[in-house]
């Protein structure tokens, strides 16, 4: 089976378009999140997103319309906690993410039961993207990309040094809030295909890979974006060829590239 044939299926086309856009957004947002030591927030949000999806299905509303506001709220909350001096943010994020998962599972067990649908939410499915989802993904991804480009320098400054940025009059809180909202959107969009358990790796891996290889912030951002998109395409192709779940295959591709980057960095240091 060749690649052209593979993309003659409409569901594969949808997966490709939405997946490339979501991985691009995730990689771009991942760099500041990882550098700010907020990697766990992505993980927490994906679990909240799972809980929200479960509730939305039980209520019979369109999952995305319900989970997007819930996850944005959770993002606000988690970010507040992460920057709060008196709270143990690590523990708080772990508690939130486990609770959201538990609520999701409870709701599912009382309504639909553990069906293939639930399995899809947890571990992702290439078939999960409908036409509406793709349209929404395109709109939201373009929004994320535009805002990111517009605020690129602010995001850099705030990531590098929050106290300096605050002192020189940048709107640090607004910038953090923007980052939280964009992350929430990206995670909700990506989790249908990648799965709640795996989506956070899409945020973290490209940034880690790029940080091993590049010395400038711009280089890291560009490298993360390219790595993420390439890994997604490779993962999608392999998953189609060998009938493996997309999410897990993409993460495996990301892991491979990350390990290769570590090796390269180690060789270069010698």
């Amino acid at each position: 089976m060749n690649i052209l044939q593979m993309f003659s299926y409409p569901f594969m086309q949808r997966a490709l378009i939405a997946g490339v856009l979501v991985s691009l957004c995730a990689a771009l947002l991942g760099v500041p999140l990882v550098l700010k030591r907020y990697s766990m927030i992505g993980d927490g949000l994906s679990h909240v997103s799972f809980g929200a999806l479960a509730i939305a299905v039980a209520l019979g509303v369109t999952p995305l319309y319900f989970s997007i506001p819930v996850v944005i709220l959770a993002a606000f909350f988690l970010l507040r906690m992460a920057s709060h001096p008196h709270w143990n943010s690590d523990a708080a994020i772990a508690a939130v993410s486990a609770s959201a998962l538990a609520i999701g599972i409870l709701v599912i067990s009382r309504t639909t039961g553990m069906t293939t649908d639930v399995d899809n939410y947890m571990f992702g499915s290439v078939l999960a993207m409908t036409k509406g989802d793709v349209a929404l993904s395109v709109i939201l991804s373009v929004t994320v990309l535009t805002l990111y480009l517009l605020f690129y320098h602010q995001i850099f400054a705030v990531t590098f040094d929050e106290s300096f940025s605050r002192a020189t009059g940048l709107k640090v809180d607004a910038c953090n809030t923007l980052l939280a909202i964009l992350t929430a959107l990206t995670i909700v969009l990506g989790m249908r295909m990648m799965g709640a358990m795996l989506i956070s790796s899409l945020v973290i891996f490209p940034a880690l890979t790029a940080m091993r290889l590049f010395k400038s912030f711009r280089g890291v951002i560009l490298c993360a974006a390219v790595t993420s998109v390439v890994c997604f395409c490779v993962g999608l192709t392999i998953s189609f060829g060998f009938s493996t779940p997309v999410g897990a295959t993409v993460v495996a591709a990301d892991l491979t590239v990350f390990l290769a980057a570590c090796l390269l960095a180690a060789l270069r240091r010698k």
Binding site: L149, H153, F156, F164, A167, G169
Partner: protein, 238 residues
Amino acid sequence: MKDNELIVCRDVSLGYEGKSVLTDLDLTIAKGDYLCVVGDNGSGKSTLMRGLLGLIQPQSGTIEHAPALKHGAIGYLPQQTRAQRDFPATVLEVVLSGCLNRQGLYFFYTPAQRSEAMMNLGKLGILELKDACYRDLSGGQQQRVLLARALCAASQLLILDEPITGLDPAAAQDLYKTLAYLNQKEGMAIVMVTHDLKAALKSARTVLHIGRKGLFTGTASDYLASPQGRRFREELES
């Protein structure tokens, strides 16, 4: 407010959540001043910094900024954070980010901002490092980069929060020399919180001691004669 004054604090109390850390503070920072803030840990030095920078509002009294300092045109050198030590960014990227407070929503920096960044790099003697990676630099070089960034943000006042923490003695001495140069030749007013009394008293024109038993403001020699500073005298003379 007179023409040569940058920040005037009148009868200011500062603190958090209703608890005052600092009370009855009167302080004037004029153009070209060199003020060292000393005092025990937890006495409110950092709170004062935050007040001067406008990050917290005084609980009572007023902190007045000169028009030239509006819009955050204060060069601030914060303490380094752990995340910064392994941050992937070139020196030029870091220094340029100091120009952001005068930048609207444009993706590109203007040529004028670029040349200003270059000039400040040159002033601090690190122009040849402009494409180096920030995380590969020594502590002293990193501090210079942050100082260059602060210079991009402000032309009249620098506020430094324990700038020599983590520097070796030679690098610390270099930093003091640079600060003295900026103060004398460029007329930059400097406010520095420090634990390094010896060097601080050598260069500072005024000393502000914040202690549990009250404040002291005066010249370095007055400070050593004062009840708060007397205990340091022997140590410094030896």
